[in-house]
């Protein structure tokens, strides 16, 4: 008598993971720091040295999302996974008629929900800060805003969405490492390593095509081909509506991000199947 794979059980694990995560002080710390930076960007505008102020505020906001979001994602993924192993709650759960895949993918979905909340909160706050400041600037300089509001809030939302996609991919890769790692520290360190590699992946790809030595070709190809390109999952330097990507591009970027997350998640399941609890 077999038990078919159940998305309900996966969802229950995800829900439980999220519930556990939102109680953690680490999350509160990162969210607090990120919120402070977004709000504080207004105070830093005197140092923008001529860069458009609204772009500067947006830069700070998305920078906070990247920095604190990445740290939160890596730490939370590793901690939420290893706490189950070390506290042996995984023992009790996996002794039930539960697939290991349901457990692991449930963890991933739980972290994805956590990062979605984080990105939604910060994107909303950033949009509010931009809206208020843009209104103030429009009152101060009506001539400069003859065409109406300059910031495209659809672009801001897209920026938040792309940020979330990156964090989900990062969580999946961290979980992949955690599935075979012996210690939480190792998983965290590798998670940060993946973050750096994925940001530099595009340089590795180019180096691969240009390298003269066999080692260079191999290394560049390896890094370039095995990791996603996080640079493509970020906004270019514009918040103007005219630069809003077409719907087809949104869909492709989403498919790219979720595709990588799914692949890394499934490979994590494959690895976790062999793990002895």
């Amino acid at each position: 008598m077999g038990a078919p794979f159940s998305f309900l059980r996966l969802g229950l694990v995800a829900q439980n993971t999220l519930r556990e995560a939102v109680r953690q002080r680490l999350l509160h710390l990162f969210v607090g720091l990120a919120l402070a930076l977004v709000l504080g960007a207004r105070g830093l505008r005197d140092f923008n040295f001529g860069a458009p102020e609204l772009k500067f505020i947006a830069d700070c906001g998305f920078g906070a999302m990247t920095l604190f979001g990445s740290a939160l994602t890596i730490a939370a993924t590793a901690q939420l996974f290893f706490s189950e192993i070390e506290n042996r709650t995984a023992l009790t759960l996996l002794a039930k008629p539960v697939w290991r895949a349901e457990f692991l993918l449930g963890k991933l979905v739980g972290v994805a929900l956590l990062t979605a909340l984080f990105c939604a909160l910060l994107t909303g706050l950033l949009a509010a800060v931009l809206w208020v400041r843009e209104g103030e600037l429009m009152a101060l300089d009506p001539e400069g805003f003859r065409g109406g509001r300059a910031v495209s809030y659809a672009m801001v939302a897209l920026g938040g969405w792309l940020q979330w996609l990156r964090l989900v991919v990062l969580a999946a890769f961290t979980l992949l490492v955690a599935s075979f790692a012996r210690t939480q520290v190792f998983a965290v360190v590798c998670g940060f390593g993946v973050l750096v590699i994925c940001h530099l992946q595009h340089l590795a790809q180019e180096a691969y095509t240009r390298a003269g030595s066999g080692v260079g070709v191999a290394l560049g190809g390896l890094v370039g081909g095995m990791f996603p390109n996080f640079q493509v999952l970020s906004l270019a330097d514009s918040l103007a509506a005219a630069d809003l990507p077409a719907l087809g591009t949104w869909v492709r970027l989403t498919a790219y991000g979720l595709g990588w997350a799914l692949v890394a998640g499934l490979l994590a399941v494959l690895s976790f199947r062999r793990r002895e609890i």
């Binding site: 923008n48 920078g63 906070a64 340089l203 370039g224 081909g225 095995m226 270019a236 492709r252």
Partner: protein
Amino acid sequence: MKSRLGLAVVVCAGLALAGQVLAPLVAEPWRQRREREPALRLEPGVAAAGQGVTLALLGGFRALVADAAWIQMYARWERRDLAGTEAFARLVTTVDPRPVYFWLNAARILAYDFPAWRIEAAGGYDAVPAAAQRAVNEAQAAAALELLGAARRRHPDSVDLWVEEANIHLNRRGDPLGAAVAYREAWARPRAPYYVARLRAEVLRRAGRRAEALAWLREIHPALPAGDPGAGAELVLQRIRELEAELGVPAGEAYRPTR
């Protein structure tokens, strides 16, 4: 051990396969993005590895980091530390190449401040031979022009960068013809101010190229809106008449405004 190795092989193969399958999804958006941002391309002359890595790692925070580095650059500028000032100035434009402000001021420091510091360090304007001073000015101007060239790859439509280049040709190299070329490029950029067109004519005139100056003014005058004091249509027409008089242009060939 064998099963661990086998798992590692499968994981690597899976990731590589995913890379091959998923990359085409974003090939076009990535191509467009790279065209817009030179820092994402690993090519010579862009300080690409530095810019690319920095952009990659700092993301939105590069604005803050660049600002902090700019302030540190000024700390070294106050001490007349050539190497430190240049290093930080180039670092800033590498970290955050987006503000034109950084490029402009870095070029000005290279072209104007550095020659003065070097000459004073060598004994002062009275002690250093004129030829040596010219060589220093020329070398620093070349460095500034090279920086402005790099800036234009990032800001191809910037009027300010061409105007700055013109100023350096004129004031540091004593090359009005070089300035004239730069003013023409500035005028060709979107939303260029009217004065750059007038300045081109003026430097051509000073360089003795009065015929070229006249041809230029005749070319631009029709585009200048009447009634806009900033456009200076009346002033340009006056200059045309002066040049026609200097060049002895027959009345029949004199410029006739279209309105």
